[in-house]
């Protein structure tokens, strides 16, 4: 059990790499940096494979228990004396271990994170070759790997949260990698803060769990969830907990309404977008929800919420993706949309399907981004598809790999995407209740859109007429080996990864789902109960239903959708020359405008929350207060800054005004001033005239006398 016993080394490897880079990196040669960083991740990958293999062996003999190893107690005194009361009045010790847990779920993430991670590291060698801050970049990347691996391998929520925040930090650092660009650092801040909003939900959710279960270890939580029946009140709290967790997921996995940071995150270098904002980090939310499946299935409300949010996000983002011109933004929105798919899957209880989609998506989306990167590389930095075209022959490898990825994402069999996406749609359909049919429709339409915008991307980039300027065209060249190799590998994966989940209905044996059964089986069974499908408790029965004609029908339909999307894209863009016309624009300019402007969500946020935009001269939201207060500041509080930013900043200005003038003014300086004012009369009393003094004395005396004689 060499690997499994030393599984804790896996996250530490990149941690060392990252730390080394950040502390000593500046002095190192690029070669050394490559060896260290890429080497670390490579080792991690090897160890990961080893551990997973050993685990599968181990699990056979251990009734598919998760493998858990605890290094030391991280939070808490480990004496059991630092206790807190749980919801049922019992006493639970405050504790969170630095402990790792390996089970099918984490194994999958472990594999593709290290794997894709390694590829992207290799890719970066070429991509970043000419960038400054080389060591910094790789340091951050390694740090990210460390956080991500912690997140995956954590055996309790707190440690998961460590990775959770860690990846957030690394994405912040990497988005802001070109920190001299204001847009970059803005995007970085936006990402971190929006994530923090989600995280705060996550923290509270964690506390609810701790309060309910008296522990934050996944095994304990699952045990708690699985034990018999729960009182309605408990279920209420579980719902609260799961919803709060989902808030966290929304932040991290860019779901409505917190998705806004992801598109901006494209400010980062392309490999970062590929690794963090496509393949790995953004799927953390999915992982966390899947990890908590036992709890989620106890809270139908939460499940429905997840499903609906997921579906809406999916179609919402996809529709935006239809018209974007920046190649990376198209991919960004497609990522959001695919994440929506995953949540839809989780929401309908098809955890395995969701995870499967994460798995496949990791490959083809990473591939797409890297391909896009390669394209941009070739186009010497150009990202606008309107200025591309006809690159098919010029950069053939990129072209072929990207084409494969596109086929995969559009769900054309037998490419990976087909299997996962089809599974999700199918599961949605089979869920009882009309609501789910609506969700299915949404998903279906999304699939169509996906196919459309992806092929639009392909056609505008590789076919159609060249629309780039002369000298750009002159420089076009295929990317170096270090970039090509990963593309090819990923392409292969996107081609074959789907076979792992080859559905039974097509004569396969759904290895993937079977592999995950120990994690999800009871969960899915539970959903079925919730959905009143008492008849289908057992997986076996599911299989029969699985092979129903409906499924084939749906399968055909979804492929058809992909085909339709492809065809439409071909028709409108195959021969696009400079100044080509967007079909949607032709159909309805209004819609096009709305889509192009992303439904004006950012603007809306600016109107409502930040108030950075006016409605015919009238400012709503924070800035409304802001202007009022800044007027006030200008006229009352001298030298106060005018203008306002976020709602908090405005409130802050108000409160600081309050601070300076009310609390400090009346509360503190007030008495002082008053005293000084009183001091002068008190002194004036001292006229300096003897007789006045004598008079005062006498009056004092007489006063006392009168008081006593006549009272």
């Amino acid at each position: 059990m060499l690997f499994l016993d030393h599984i804790w080394i896996i996250p530490l490897l990149p941690a060392f790499g990252g730390a080394g880079m950040l502390f000593f990196g500046r002095k190192l040669q690029k070669a050394t940096v490559n060896v260290v960083c890429v080497g670390m991740v490579g080792l991690a990958f090897i160890m990961a494979c080893g551990s997973v293999l050993q685990y599968t062996a181990w699990a056979e003999t251990h009734s598919h228990q998760p493998y858990q190893t605890i290094l030391y107690t991280w939070l808490g005194g480990d004496t059991g004396h630092l206790i807190y009361p749980t919801h049922d009045g019992a006493q639970a010790p405050f504790q969170a271990d630095a402990g790792l847990l390996l089970d099918p779920l984490s194994s999958i993430w472990l594999l593709f994170v290290t794997g894709v991670g390694m590829l992207i590291h290799i890719y970066s060698i070429g991509y970043m070759a000419h960038e400054g801050g080389y060591y910094r970049f790789f340091g951050y990347l390694n740090l990210f790997m460390f956080s991500m691996l912690t997140l995956i391998l954590a055996n309790n929520y707190v440690l998961l949260f460590v990775g959770w925040e860690g990846v957030g930090l690394c994405s912040y650092l990497l988005i802001g990698f070109y920190f001299h660009r204001k847009s970059a650092s803005d995007a970085a801040n936006k990402a971190f803060i929006v994530n923090r909003i989600g995280d705060s939900g996550f923290i509270l959710g964690m506390f609810f769990i701790a309060w309910l279960c008296g522990s934050l270890r996944f095994v304990d939580v699952n045990a708690f969830a699985h034990l018999g029946t729960h009182s309605p009140e408990t279920l209420k709290y579980i719902t609260a907990a799961t919803l709060l967790l989902f808030v966290g997921a929304c932040g991290k996995s860019a779901q409505l309404p917190l998705y806004v940071w992801l598109p901006d995150a494209m400010e980062g270098p392309t490999p970062v977008s590929a690794l963090i904002h496509a393949a790995t980090m953004v799927t953390a939310g999915v992982y966390m929800v899947a990890r908590s499946n036992a709890l989620f299935v106890l809270a139908p409300t939460s499940m429905k919420t997840v499903a609906i949010v997921g579906a809406l996000t999916a179609i919402f983002a996809a529709s935006i993706g239809l018209v974007q011109n920046d190649i990376k933004r198209v991919l960004a929105y497609s990522t959001v949309s695919q994440l929506g798919y995953m949540f839809l899957a989780l929401g309908v209880g098809a955890f395995a399907a969701g995870v499967f989609h994460v798995f496949t998506h990791a490959f083809f989306k990473a591939l797409l981004f890297l391909g896009a990167g390669s394209v941009i590389h070739a186009m010497s930095g150009e990202q606008d598809m309107r200025n591309m075209g006809a690159l098919e022959k010029r950069i053939p490898v990129t072209y072929w790999t990207m084409l494969i990825a596109t086929l995969a994402i559009s769900g054309i069999p037998p490419f990976a995407g087909f299997f996962s996406k089809d599974e999700i749609l199918w599961q949605t359909w089979t869920s009882e209740g009309d609501a789910y049919r609506i969700l299915w429709v949404i998903g279906y339409v999304t699939a169509l859109m996906t196919a459309f915008y992806m092929f639009r991307l392909v056609y505008l980039t590789f076919y159609s007429k060249p629309r780039m300027s002369r000298e750009v065209e002159h420089h076009i060249h295929e990317s170096p080996k270090s970039m090509i190799v990963p593309l090819v590998i990923l392409a292969v994966m996107s081609l074959f990864a789907g076979f792992l989940g080859w559905p039974r209905s097509l004569g396969g044996s759904d290895h993937f789902a079977r592999f995950l059964d120990p994690v999800f089986a009871r969960g899915e069974a539970r959903t079925l109960i919730e959905e009143g499908k008492a008849g289908q408790l057992v997986a076996a029965e599911k299989e029969e239903e699985h092979t129903s004609p409906t499924e084939y029908l749906l399968m055909v339909l979804s492929v058809a959708a992909a085909g339709v999307g492809w065809y439409m894209a071909k028709r409108s863009y195959a021969h696009a020359h400079t100044g080509y016309s967007e079909p949607i624009k032709a159909a309805s300019p209004a819609t096009y405008k709305i889509l192009l402007n992303k439904y004006y969500v950012d603007e809306g946020y600016d109107y409502l929350f930040t108030g950075r935009r006016k409605i015919d001269g009238v400012r709503l939201g924070a800035m409304g207060l802001g202007e009022a207060s800044s007027w006030f500041d200008a006229n009352v509080v001298d030298g106060a800054v005018n203008g306002a930013g976020w709602i908090t900043r405005t409130t802050a200005r108000l409160s600081s005004w309050w601070d300076k003038w009310i609390i400090d003014g009346i509360g503190v300086n007030g008495p002082a001033i008053l005293a000084r004012m009183l001091s002068y009369p008190a002194r004036l009393f001292e006229l300096g005239l003897v007789q006045w003094y004598a008079l005062v004395m006498t009056v004092g005396l007489v006063g006392f006398v009168f008081y006593y004689v006549y009272h």
């Binding site: 950040l22 500046r26 030391y72 107690t73 991280w74 939070l75 808490g76 005194g77 480990d78 004496t79 059991g80 004396h81 630092l82 206790i83 807190y84 009361p85 749980t86 919801h87 006493q91 405050f94 707190v158 949260f161 460590v162 925040e165 860690g166 930090l169 912040y172 802001g176 920190f179 001299h180 204001k182 650092s185 970085a188 801040n189 971190f192 803060i193 923090r196 909003i197 995280d199 705060s200 923290i203 509270l204 506390f207 609810f208 701790a210 309060w211 800054v641 976020w646 908090t648 900043r649 409130t651 802050a652 200005r653 409160s655 600081s656 601070d659 609390i663 400090d664 509360g667 503190v668």
Partner: protein
């Protein structure tokens, strides 16, 4: 050594100060060296405490107790008694560490009246240590007030443009709080005499009788008494409406002064709450309205401090206000009155000392180079001073509570400790926690925004192009703080173990009904008499009845 370790630690800085008096004030370097040697020596001398205390960490009661009650001023029953428990132990270590760091940090920062500066600083050091060590209320009060003087001079002499205002404000404001406390102390003193026929200021002795006041004089009297202490500590912390001395003091104070001010002085308030308010007035604290207000003020402080710091244009002011927010977390943890909240609170105090101390050093370093703290003056610093930028980032992260750094551990335990309470002042614990959580978001907002404005972007201001990166000495000042930040972040277990006994004991005394972990009860503080006994006390009332009600 072993038996007098506390006295030794306490007076090492003072010895340094006295020695400095004999050095001619022209000989600046000698003065600097001596001061630094003594400050560092003070730290080294306090190190043996660590292993020694570690062995006793689960022992009940105060450790290393030195001197006997009434041995100082027998005729009023005041004694020179020192002793520490887990809480004061951590704070003492923090003090010795920060004292050394801040003295090291002012090597180049202070150019005029060097001798005076170091003398006052070392005196201040002794004063602060005394506050944390004193087991006699009279002694405590002496240190508590004496320590104001050097701080006042540090601000007033080496401070910025509005130093006079800031210094006097600091002195008067904090003194105003503590004089009322004196009356409270005297009341306890007489009450204890009434109960036991003994006049003493010994804190462990007062622990035994003070809680009875609630039953002898009624709730309102006890509440007034509670307030007389509360103001003293709330001003020092500072809690929400009493915080306005802080920004002024911080902005004007020299860097090292700010470090000590934020790192240690503020902790005296929270320490006072833990050491006095909680054990003395348990029933008052459990009183719904009181509890509600203290909790509400803490939450307000968290949000308010964060909001205000968000819009500051002066870095130092920003950090100062962030202290208000952080200390809000500390008080929240204290008044949650749960072991978890309390230990989190103490831990957070240490963290705040480390992180905010570092933040002030960071601001100070820029200030030393550019003599301005206007955020707008900077930008793109990270390309000029990469090492500095990295350290700053780490410290910002630790301050905003990023996991694996110290801040997170404290805030997490505080929030969980609050959250887990079924009912606090008529609201469920999660209600309070939920209100506090946005503070974490805001912390990220103001710190990252500050970082963006100062470090990111391109160097626009030509004055910033020539800035030289950290010198080895400056790095040396940061090193221990970085180590602490990572240590607490990665392996806080020892801290929790050190805190376990005192916090459990506190909660035991305040809420005897709280779950009873075995073997953490402390003999030195016996729980108050059982309810029936209280009843007849309440009926008969007055001090004499205590003589009856004592057994």
């Amino acid at each position: 050594m072993y038996s007098h370790i506390l006295s030794i630690v306490l007076f090492t800085p003072l010895a340094g100060a006295i020695l400095l008096l004999f050095v001619p004030k022209e000989n600046k370097d000698a003065i600097r060296w001596i001061a630094n040697i003594f400050a560092f020596g003070g730290f080294l001398i306090s190190l043996p405490l660590v292993p020694w205390f570690w062995n006793l960490r689960f022992e009940p009661g105060f450790k290393f107790v030195e001197g006997s009650a009434n041995n100082w001023i027998p005729s009023i029953g005041a004694g020179y008694v020192l002793g520490i428990d887990g809480i004061s132990f951590l704070l003492i270590m923090l003090t010795t560490l920060l004292g050394w760091i801040s003295i090291l940090s002012s090597w180049t920062a202070i150019e005029n009246r060097v001798k005076e500066y170091y003398v006052w600083f070392l005196v201040l050091q002794t004063g602060m240590l005394g506050v944390f060590m004193a087991l006699d209320f009279f002694l405590f009060f002496v240190f508590w007030e004496a320590m104001l003087v050097p701080m006042y001079l540090l601000i007033g002499i080496w401070g910025g443009p509005r130093k006079l205002y800031a210094a006097i404000k600091f002195f008067l404001y904090t003194l105003a709080g503590s004089v009322l406390m004196l009356l409270g102390i005297l009341f306890l003193y007489f009450h204890h005499h009434g109960a036991t026929g003994v006049y003493t200021f010994s804190i462990p002795e007062l622990y035994k009788t003070a809680p009875q006041i609630y039953y002898d004089y009624g709730a309102s009297a006890a509440t007034l008494l509670f307030l007389s202490f509360f103001f003293a500590f709330a001003i020092k912390v500072p809690m929400f409406p009493f915080h306005t001395w802080l920004p002024d003091a911080h902005v004007e104070a020299p860097t090292a002064g700010s470090v000590i001010l934020a790192g240690v002085l503020l902790k005296m308030g929270t320490y006072g709450f833990i050491r006095f308010s909680l054990p003395f007035f348990p029933d008052v604290l459990m009183h719904t309205r009181v509890r509600f207000w203290v909790m509400a003020l803490s939450v307000i402080a968290i949000l308010y401090g964060a909001l205000v710091s968000l819009m500051q244009k002066d870095m130092k002011k920003l950090v100062a206000y962030s202290s208000v927010s952080h200390l809000g977390f500390c008080t929240l943890g204290i008044f949650a009155l749960s072991p978890l909240g309390l230990s989190g609170s103490v831990l957070q105090q240490i963290n705040h000392g480390v992180s905010t101390g570092a933040l002030f050093l960071i601001v100070g370093i820029l200030y030393e180079r550019r003599h301005t703290r206007e955020i707008a003056e900077y930008g793109g610093i990270s390309s000029v001073m990469p090492v500095y930028a990295t350290i700053t980032m780490i410290m910002f992260l630790s301050s905003m509570g990023l996991p694996l750094l110290n801040g997170f551990v404290g805030e997490f335990s505080i929030l969980q400790g609050t959250f887990m309470e079924k009912e606090i002042a008529g609201h469920p614990g999660w209600f309070w926690a939920a209100w506090a959580v946005p503070g974490v978001i805001l912390a990220a907002a103001y710190l990252l925004w500050l970082y963006q404005r100062v470090f990111f972007g391109t160097v626009t201001n030509p004055k910033n192009e020539k800035l030289h990166d950290l010198t080895p000495r400056e790095i040396a000042t940061f090193a221990p703080l970085l180590i602490m930040a990572f240590w607490i972040g990665l392996y806080p277990k020892p801290f929790f173990q050190i805190l376990e006994q005192p916090v459990n004991q506190l909660v035991q005394n305040i809420r005897p009904d709280y779950g009873k972990p075995a073997g953490t009860m402390n003999a030195s503080v016996q729980p108050r008499t059982a309810a029936p006994a209280r009843q007849d006390l309440a009926k008969t009332g007055g001090i004499p009845s205590l003589l009856r009600g004592k057994n």
